[in-house]
């Protein structure tokens, strides 16, 4: 027989405290109010006082509403029927189709044993030179896109989703504007990938606790697909909204804030999610690409800062381009030495020259004399931005490398680009630089 508890002793923020016994930590409960039912999760046990975070929020909850406990943690169904479906942060369908009630798995599974991971070594080709050449994306990598609001980060995310070769795409939307949700759906539909996409969408209008559930739902489902030998790509946007929800709950629970109001375990909470990215030894993989909006374009803000320490690199999106200096893929070394022998050399040389170009621009902008060398750097910078950095450029890796050589040859003598002799000899374009018409 179902046991109901109705002695609610405290309601604050999204947290309800009820008098109950025999309740397990992290257990799930259902709270029934005049407005309907909502899921809730145990977050604190003390004697017979059980605190629950209520997914739908506590607005309208009365002190006599009924709660019953399910005796299990939060779960999500898992089957191929999920493909093409859209759910909300409680796991309910958002697409007017019937709920899936089979094969439930717990969310928030324990960590993967590190010795059962394999070394990531498969490059994910995206057709975006700033990623493919300079910061290659690797299967099982976790990589955020740091961006200020207003930059086309969701478009970039969607484009990678479309162009990367993955078996299953899982989109987790947190605090998403409704229009953005519709755009994602439209883009995936037009791109013909909707049939292998699963979406868990929390929009800005939905209750804040549901936002907290979105990454766990996405990753629990993704993990199951990966165990079935699938290559899964999880797209999360926006992780800052997730962190803000954490902050909200932590403050209600009277936790001592550590930095700008965020709880002391922000790092751990985010790491537990990002670390789900995995390449199983003997099964599939899960790659995570996430958007992190930086309040005030400040990457020392706790959310991007902690994210940077967790993820395997980061892309900065600035002025509609992927920033050449700050962006970093930590796993690129695993894949970029067996693409083509000149890949690493070109990667390093182009960035170093671009850094010199930046100095030359500063000089020019301050009205100083620009030397002949500076002039060449300036030309180089413009060509590089135009033909390589522009997000509109969509070419395969080798073509992009050739294009870099071409640009260097147009601007410099071989010994000026800082590339080792044997690689120079093999790849330096043979036509006299000056005679080469500007290619594009």
């Amino acid at each position: 027989m179902r046991k109901y508890y109705d002695q609610i002793t405290r309601i604050a923020g999204n947290v309800v405290t009820v008098t109950a016994t025999g309740i397990g930590y992290d257990e799930l409960a259902v709270i029934t109010t005049d407005r309907g039912t909502s899921l809730a999760q145990v977050i604190h046990l003390e004697g017979d006082q059980v605190s629950l975070q209520v997914f739908a929020g506590t607005q309208g909850v009365s002190t006599e509403d009924r709660i019953h406990f399910l005796g299990r943690p939060m779960q999500v169904p898992f089957s191929d029927k999920l493909l093409g479906r859209i759910f909300d942060g409680s796991g309910r369908p958002r697409d007017d189709r019937p709920a899936i009630e089979e094969n439930f798995v717990d969310i928030g599974s324990p960590a993967v044993n590190p010795v059962t991971r394999r070394m990531p070594d498969k490059m994910v080709h995206t057709g975006i030179p700033m990623i493919d050449i300079f910061n290659s994306l690797v299967e099982s990598q976790k990589l955020p896109i740091f961006s200020i609001p207003g930059q086309p980060y969701n478009e970039l995310l969607a484009r990678v989703g479309l162009q990367a070769d993955a078996d299953v795409i899982i989109l987790g939307g947190m605090g998403l504007r409704y229009d953005d949700y519709l755009i994602f759906r439209q883009t995936f539909e037009d791109g013909g990938v909707l049939g292998r996409t699963i979406m868990f969408i929390h929009t800005a209008a939905d209750p804040v606790v549901e936002c907290l559930m979105v990454p766990d739902l996405c990753l629990a489902v993704g993990e199951q697909f990966a165990l079935q030998n699938k290559r899964v790509l999880v797209l999360l946007t926006d992780m800052t909204a997730f962190a803000d929800s954490l902050k909200e709950i932590a403050i209600i629970m009277e936790q001592i804030p550590s930095n700008r109001g965020y709880p002391g375990d922000l790092y751990t909470q985010m790491a537990r999610r990002y670390e789900k990215a995995v390449d199983f030894d003997g099964a599939g993989s899960m790659t995570i690409l996430a958007c992190v909006t930086m309040p005030g374009d400040d990457d020392t803000h706790p959310v991007p800062d902690n994210t940077g320490y967790i993820t395997e690199g980061q892309f900065y999106l600035r002025e509609g381009r992927i920033d050449a200096f700050r962006s970093l893929s930590r796993l690129k070394q695993q894949v970029n030495d067996d693409t083509r022998d000149d890949h690493r050399a070109v990667m390093n040389a182009c960035i170093q020259l671009y850094a010199l170009c930046r100095e030359a621009r500063e000089k020019r902008d301050m009205g100083f004399e620009v030397s002949a060398w500076d002039q060449r750097l300036l030309t180089y910078g413009d060509l590089f931005e135009d033909r390589i950095m522009d997000l509109g450029v969509n070419i395969p890796l080798f073509e992009a490398l050739d294009r870099c050589w071409q640009i260097m040859a147009e601007c410099f003598e071989p010994e000026e680009v800082g590339i080792r002799r044997n690689i120079l000899d093999a790849h330096w374009p043979t036509a006299t630089p000056a005679a080469t018409p500007a290619a594009s």
């Binding site: 992290d26 044993n113 590190p114 001592i256 537990r272 800062d305 690199g313 004399e369």
Partner: protein, 583 residues
């Protein structure tokens, strides 16, 4: 001795018990499905004991049983530690994977050492010998080392060997000796013993001043900011500045006997890299796999937080154990900030009054206590053992003003500060050559190092000035200084961690290259104009840069060396002349 759970909050449990509780002792929280979750008592108030649980607390109920033990959190020490991959509580991860598959399972623990394997024991002590704590009783071969079997570390005063096993193969659980104390009490000795992780294991005559340079193969460290065997150093740096790559390079090439890698609250992927690659890599000094000299303690960021706090102590204890055998041990902790954050999380749950950035007030003393476990010691038999500790720090927002960095800087002997500006410009290793410091002396003449530092400082000043007055307002002498500083930076301080040759430079080669480079730096060029100066230094740059990639004494190496010597001999005049001709 039993108690009952009265509250659960995150990884903290409060248990009520009528009996005796020992502070910092371990306890097991018993889940209803039979799993026993390891915990540590961290505060006692009346009949309430606060426990930090080393696992996820999901599924614990108020009223569940808690089984209190007397012993503190300990590790088992004995032959078979080398080459192991442990979690923060010394569970061997490969065995866990065999038993439970892809995921870790709360409450599943495995003995840290293989209890069935036999080791070829050779006694060195005889019946009647007087022994004390850590006295050598015998040896077993462990890979490339002679592993010493020592008398129990907690022996008090002088004991006598009453029995000792003959040479033969024994498991670590088999009695190999017995000792009797002053009052005639008998104590059985096996090849394994336990030691509490939070107590330093240091049984020695005295601590020594660490002076012997520890060669890492990283030029900017060995030459400019050296570390020594038995010393401490820290590497703070913003994310993406190359802390972990630097640690990995050091773990491969450092000239020590044993390396212990403590991956504390960091990415699992990085550990995977180490544990997949190390068995394949050959240690040039022993000809054996690098894994034979390595122990990996791996408590990645997704693994339970409390165990992260324990993991650095586990690593330090294993390191001290091998120091006790007269070996040189290097402990690399990546990252101590994660360890500090674990303390902060716990402190928050205990509702302690927070210090700066909510870190607990005892943060600095804990950091100091950890680094103080390093040191060179003269053992009781006169041999010397060293433990060097290098820790990375991941400061919030990349600012070194935060409490963990500041607490660390007070207690370490060398500071290798990574700079965002350098890493953005892909100048790796991104150790800032102006801000970093070391209190130790390396193998390169200190005067020469000071000379180069002065040049770098001056070069930096010129570059700052040039951003204000422009190149045209700068004298050719100043420009030459700036170019020379850049040249030294490019060709000596920077190093390519992903190139087989350039990744690590042995001490001999460092001395030789450094002397060549300083010849160039000291040269009095007579440049006609700035473009000529730039071209000449670019040429020198090109020579030394390619030289770094050439294997020592290879044909390339010799050819480039000849070019360099020619360049030095004619003071770069032929290059300068070419430039003029080209005009």
């Amino acid at each position: 001795m039993n108690g009952r759970i009265v509250a659960v909050y995150g990884n903290m449990v409060i248990a009520e018990t009528p009996g005796r509780v020992v502070q910092n002792s371990i306890a097991y929280c018993c889940r209803r499905d039979g799993a026993r979750l390891l915990s540590e008592t961290i505060r006692i108030r009346g009949s309430l004991a606060d426990l930090q649980v080393f696992e996820e607390t999901r599924g614990l109920h108020v009223g569940d049983e808690v089984d209190f033990q007397d012993e503190m959190l300990s590790v088992v020490l004995g032959p078979g530690l080398l080459g192991q991959i442990y979690d923060g509580l010394q569970n061997p991860l490969p065995q866990l994977a065999e038993e439970v598959g892809y995921f870790l399972e709360p409450g599943r623990y495995i003995h840290g050492l293989d209890t069935e394997k036999t080791w070829a024991f050779t006694p060195t002590a005889a019946v009647g010998d007087a022994v004390g704590a850590a006295s050598k009783l015998g040896t077993v071969p462990e890979g490339i080392f002679t592993h010493e079997i020592m008398a129990p570390f907690d022996l008090d005063g002088t004991w006598t060997v009453a029995e000792i096993a003959g040479a033969g193969d024994y498991t670590i659980e088999k009695e190999i000796a017995a000792v009797t104390g002053p009052d005639g009490q008998r104590r059985s000795v096996t090849m394994q013993q336990k030691w509490p992780v939070k107590r330093a294991l240091r049984i020695c005559r005295r601590r020594l001043m660490p002076t012997e340079p520890l060669v890492t193969g990283v030029r900017i460290i060995d030459t400019m900011f050296p570390i020594v065997r038995g010393g401490t150093y820290c590497i703070p740096g913003p994310f993406g500045a190359g802390k972990t790559v630097l640690q990995q390079i050091t773990s491969r090439h450092a000239e020590v006997d044993i390396v212990i890698v403590a991956a504390c609250g960091e990415r699992a992927g990085e550990v995977v890299e180490t544990l997949r690659e190390f068995p394949e890599l050959i240690d040039p000094r022993t000809g054996k796999s690098l894994m034979e000299r390595t122990i990996i303690i791996c408590n990645t960021s997704a693994m339970p937080v409390a165990a992260r706090e324990a993991s650095v102590y586990t690593a330090a204890t294993l390191a001290e154990y091998y120091r006790q055998m007269g070996l040189n041990v290097l402990l690399l902790a990546d990252s101590t900030s994660r360890w500090a954050q674990a303390m902060r999380e716990l402190s928050g749950r205990l509702e302690e009054i927070p210090g700066e950035e909510a870190f607990p007030a005892y943060l600095e003393s804990r950091i100091a206590g950890f680094y103080e476990r390093a040191g060179a010691v003269e053992l009781n038999d006169g041999r010397i053992g060293t433990l060097t500790i290098g820790g990375t720090v991941s400061p919030a927002g990349g600012s070194f003003e935060e409490p963990v960095t500041q607490g660390t800087l007070k207690v370490v002997g060398a500071f290798h500060g990574l700079s965002r500006v350098r890493s953005d410009a892909r100048r790796y290793p991104a150790i800032d050559p102006l801000d970093s410091w070391s209190k130790y002396t390396g193998f390169i003449d200190a005067d020469k190092v000071a000379e180069v530092r002065a040049l770098l400082t001056r070069g930096h000043e010129v570059q700052q000035m040039m951003t204000v007055v422009g190149e045209e307002g700068t004298s050719i002498e100043d420009i030459t200084i700036s170019l020379k500083a850049n040249f030294f930076d490019d060709c000596y301080l920077q190093q390519n961690a992903f190139d087989d040759v350039d990744a690590a430079t042995p001490a001999d080669r460092q001395r030789f290259v450094f002397d060549k480079i300083i010849e160039v730096l000291r040269m009095d060029f007579a440049f006609a104009d700035k473009e000529q100066a730039r071209r000449t230094l670019v040429h020198a740059n090109d020579l030394f840069f390619n030289w770094n990639y050439a294997a020592t004494d290879s044909d390339d190496y010799k050819r480039i060396l000849a070019d360099i010597d020619a360049f030095i001999a004619d003071k770069g005049e032929s290059v300068a002349a070419e430039t003029t001709a080209a005009k």
